[in-house]
């Protein structure tokens, strides 16, 4: 058991090193560099960058050096916990991401709780009362939920909240709290702004989860051990909750692997549409601007989160599912 965990940990570290190299290569792949993107951006908005400026910028950011030199310089800093400075934000990358990280986590977590809170009971109900009227209702709703892209939903909800209520659309704070230091009022303001994006983020996932939960549980309910339990006169609630539901939850444990990166990045498209100050739009912007260190660090962070997530999900699986545990011993 311990040997297994140690082996996984070593593999995880190696994977992370590989991810850092790939992250850097992928970011270097598009033609041009930060200065090119910067020139194109300014030119399209009626301002200009001269040759002289471009040259001095390249020298300033070290973009005139070979790629491997840039990577080694970056890596030597990353290893001591310094992720370099964002070219666009002129601040340490850790700070730029840090600003948004916890808001992203709050948002993703609330969306996740909402998803699970809605999907699991409905999924269980639909399976247990298969082909009942409510099952049909939930099934149709969840199919619609699956089919509608959630950025579209975000746009529609934004449009109506604007037309009907004239509400300030987007963002996580009202304008008067944007500047204010943290206070109870600001937290309350955040809580008021949170439901809309959380619901939108949660909806598609909910639909999917309902379907998965229903299908898994239906599989379990038909197994002989359930029939045996019923035949022996075990109370119905106990029959369902004690064994089949637990077994049906297995796939959820394995999804932890990709929940982790999701927690730190949030949904990029939804965040853009709703102008949420999360890490997702930051990554997109960094990639467009070819802000290497910022984009590299976020990609690295996502990779690391996936590795950690997978590791944890393996542990959780071992814990919830005795079959895996016993197989190993």
């Amino acid at each position: 058991m311990l040997a297994y965990i140690a082996r996984r940990a070593v593999l995880a570290v190696l994977t992370m090193a590989a991810i850092s190299v790939f992250a850097f290569i992928i970011i270097q792949l598009p033609p041009g560099d930060f200065v090119d993107a910067y020139i194109a951006n300014l030119s399209a908005s009626g301002s200009s960058v001269s040759m002289e400026e471009a040259k001095s910028l390249r020298a300033l950011y070290g973009l005139d050096q070979p790629v491997y030199v840039q990577y080694m310089k970056w890596m030597s800093r990353v290893l001591v916990g310094d992720f370099g400075e964002s070219m666009e934000w002129h601040r340490p990358v850790a700070e730029v991401i840090g600003d948004r990280l916890w808001l992203t986590i709050v948002l993703s977590l609330s969306a996740l709780m909402l998803t699970w809170g809605i999907a699991l009971p409905i999924g269980i109900y639909s399976a247990v009362r298969q082909y009942s009227a409510l099952d049909y209702v939930f099934t149709s709703i969840s199919f619609i939920g699956l089919a509608v892209p959630n950025f579209l939903l975000a746009l529609v909800i934004m449009y109506f909240s604007f037309v009907l209520f004239g509400a300030n659309v987007g963002g996580l704070f009202s304008s008067e709290f944007d500047l204010a230091p943290w206070s109870l009022a600001k937290v309350w303001d955040l809580i008021k702004h949170l439901p809309l994006p959380a619901v939108i983020l949660a909806l598609a996932g909910t639909a999917q989860l309902i379907r998965i939960m229903r299908a898994n549980l239906l599989d379990e309910l038909r197994k002989p051990y359930v029939v045996t339990a019923r035949a022996k006169g075990m109370p119905e609630a106990r029959v369902i909750w004690k064994y089949p539901v637990r077994a049906a939850l297995n796939p959820f444990a394995s999804t932890i692997a990709y929940l982790f990166p999701y927690l730190v990045s949030g949904s990029i498209i939804i965040s853009l549409v709703l102008s949420l100050p999360t890490v997702g739009p930051l990554l997109l912007k960094a990639l467009i601007a070819q802000d290497m260190f910022l984009a590299g660090t976020i990609v690295l962070l996502l990779g690391v989160m996936t590795v950690i997530g997978t590791f944890i999900s393996d542990l959780v699986l071992m814990w919830v599912d005795p079959r895996i545990r016993f197989q190993m011993d």
């Binding site: 033609p31 934000w89 950025f151 853009l272």
Partner: protein, 679 residues
């Protein structure tokens, strides 16, 4: 995806727009003027006669409080003895208020720079056609054009109260600009004929720029959005160090010269910078460093790399209104971060900004107009002065495909392409009929305009003539689908058009042009590309035709790169020629086209011409050749596509009915936001 959805919403509302978007766009301007959305170019008037200057000064209440508390000297000691006096457009305003605006993050630094653009030595009047004083009180040019003397304002101060003098110019020139660690090489603005000039202090308030060769364009450069004349806000940020003056008393502490290299490096390390150069670049950037002394009407109090970029009044601002009240009227500018320009549009429509022209999209105009009442704002359409928002730049140094290169460098072929474009259809579809179809030549309002006929020459739909030209140059054979074929291998002649989605939906526009070219038997292969890929390809001489704006060309000498291939940074008309020109023939390839060579000669001759009128004539000659040769094909311009849809709160006063939309006007700064106020 999202953009097309909003565009769809707009399209459905387009029906109600017929008041100013005529079905037939032959003369859009008359209808446009009648709509009340386009006013006349206007702005505050500068009072240059000292006899008419106010004798006493007023100040904002919050500053008066500070004076009372002894934390700030009285206003008469803060305002220079020779202030810039402005008569506001309508009336003397009131102090107070916060101007809410949107921005897109640190990459959108120009959003704030432009509000502070009066920190240029010279500037343009609200019509964008006449040079006026700004930081400098006045200027003189020697008869031989080798010395330009700039007179500063007596008693003028930096935003921290320290005197602003000729020493700040010499400091910039000797300690920053001439330091190879900070500025790698001299800039062309300061080196006419390749000979570097210098900056000399005459007395406390007099500076001379001295050159070995005549530099008659230098005054224009000081007024333009150039490296030397751009001002401190824009030219000393983002790692660059141009702009003619710098706060010596503050910045010298970061230079090795005033202590030692070891000492400044140590300080840099302590503050978390790699070395002293990086620290200096940060310290002299007004958008990051809130301690930096500046000259603009507002100074940064919350840096740009936070979710809200906040600017507050400069208590030492050197301009007053005609009643003697120190400007600006508005206390604060708060720029809130939006993740995407769509959000800026939506918030503007919701009335969340007090004045926003940047990032407002022309395609949203119907929705914007519909919500005027509810949002509490008024819409102004400001028409640009350059000729063509969507320009097909034809690569004259293309050589990857000899057959294609042969046609791209053939004048009749280019003329035929131009006459095969239905500009009215483009205008109606993408500019809501508001733009003006025409060539690349600038608006006839500009002194360098070659005249109305050159707005039209080869720039009107004439399919018969276009076909005749194409037949005439030997492209007579067509394939079964009616497309003309190559003369070398008989396959269809395909012309690649490279387009990027930036200012306008250029890929879709290029598709429409490609459709239109079917009628003249030309197959266009439109390649939609990511922006950086497109610019990299153009720099490598790989493109055939590139779609981009020709914005900035309304004053040819100040920003020639969208009109003539002179700058390898953006050389869509011939990268190899631009490299050849910029390196004085050391690299790249010399053009053989006599007309192109003539353009270069004319362009070079301008800086030796003493009279502005003569230089304008030279520019007109260049434009005539450019239009006649169609190296770049203009489509629709003089439109509000770029910063021209202005959303202004009804609470704001002294707002011009039309503002100058051009690079040299530093939109919206030539309208002098410091004279706007909350009623």
């Amino acid at each position: 995806m999202k953009k097309s959805v909003l565009l769809g919403v707009c399209a459905s509302l387009l029906v109600g727009l017929s008041a100013f978007a005529p079905a037939q766009a032959q003369q859009p301007s008359a209808n446009l003027m009648a709509s009340g959305l386009v006013g006349k170019l206007e702005g505050p008037e500068l009072i240059l006669d000292p006899a008419k200057w106010p004798k006493s000064f007023g100040e904002a209440p919050d500053l008066a409080e500070l004076v009372k508390a002894g934390k700030l000297p009285p206003v008469k000691d803060r305002v220079p003895a020779e202030p810039l006096v402005m008569k506001p457009l309508s009336e003397v305003g009131k102090y107070g208020g916060t101007w809410r605006r949107g921005f897109l993050g640190p990459g959108d630094w120009e959003n704030g720079n432009r509000l502070n653009a009066s920190d240029k030595l010279l500037f343009w009047d609200p019509t964008g056609t006449k040079i006026v004083p700004s930081v400098a009180k006045s200027w003189e040019q020697s008869a031989d054009g080798k010395v330009i003397r700039v007179n500063l304002r007596k008693g003028m101060k930096w935003s921290d109260g320290a005197p602003f003098t000729a020493d700040d110019f010499v400091f910039w020139f000797e300690d920053l600009y001439s330091n190879k660690d900070i500025v790698a090489a001299p800039i062309p603005d300061m080196s006419p004929g390749g000979k570097p000039g210098k900056v000399v202090k005459v007395d406390e308030t007099t500076v001379e720029f001295q050159f070995e060769n005549p530099h008659f364009l230098f005054v224009d450069f000081l007024a333009g959005d150039t490296l030397i004349g751009g001002g401190q806000s824009v030219r000393q940020s983002q790692g660059t160090t141009f702009g003619a003056y710098s706060p010596k008393h503050y910045l010298k502490q970061f230079l090795p010269k005033y202590s030692s290299e070891a000492q400044v490096n140590e300080r840099a390390k302590a503050e978390g910078f790699e070395n002293w150069v990086k620290m200096l670049h940060f310290k002299k950037d007004w958008s990051f460093n809130t301690e930096l002394p500046t000259l603009g009407p507002w100074k940064t109090t919350r840096p740009i790399n936070t979710p809200t970029w906040v600017l507050e009044r400069n208590p030492y601002y050197w301009a007053v209104d005609s009643a003697g009240n120190q400007l600006p009227y508005i206390d604060k500018v708060v720029l809130t971060l939006a993740e995407d320009s769509e959000v800026i549009n939506l918030r503007a429509i919701g009335g969340n900004y007090d004045m926003q022209e940047r990032h407002i999209s022309l395609s949203k105009l119907p929705v914007i107009l519909e919500n005027q009442q509810k949002g509490g704002y008024k819409v102004h359409l400001d028409l640009a002065l350059h000729g063509s928002d969507t320009t097909l730049f034809i690569n004259q140094s293309f050589k990857a495909d000899a057959e294609v290169a042969k046609w791209l460098t053939n004048a009749d072929f280019r003329r035929a392409l131009s006459m095969g474009i239905d500009r009215n259809q483009l205008n109606d579809t993408f500019w809501l009929g508001i733009g003006t179809p025409g060539s690349v030549a600038p608006s006839v309002q500009m002194p360098q305009s070659p005249g109305k006929e050159y707005r039209d020459k080869y720039s009107k739909l004439d399919i018969a003539k276009a076909n005749q030209l194409l037949d005439g140059i030997g492209l007579t054979k067509k394939d079964s689908e009616g497309y003309r074929v190559r003369t070398d291998n008989g396959e269809r002649l395909r012309i690649q058009v490279q387009a990027v989605k930036a200012l306008l939906p250029w890929p879709q526009q290029a598709e429409m042009i490609g459709e239109q070219w079917r009628k003249i038997g030309i197959q266009a292969d439109v390649r939609e590309m990511e922006r950086t890929l497109a610019t990299t390809r153009t720099r490598n001489n790989e493109h055939q035709i590139m779609v981009w704006t020709n914005g900035g060309t309304e004053l040819l000498y100040l920003f020639p790169r969208h009109a003539i291939p002179v700058d390898p940074t953006e050389a869509y008309m011939g990268p190899e020629f631009a490299t050849w020109y910029a390196s004085n023939g050391a690299q790249g390839r010399a053009p053989t086209d006599p007309q192109m060579l003539k353009i270069y000669d004319l362009f070079k001759s301008a800086s030796g011409q003493r009279e502005a009128g003569d230089r304008d004539k030279t520019a007109q000659e260049i434009w005539k050749i450019l239009v006649d040769q169609q190296y770049a094909i203009g489509t629709v311009g003089e439109s509000p596509a770029q910063f021209g849809v202005r959303i202004v709160s009804t609470k704001l006063g002294n707002i011009p009915s039309r503002a100058c939309i051009a690079q040299h006007c530093r939109t919206p700064s030539s309208s002098h936001a410091e004279t706007w106020y909350f009623k």
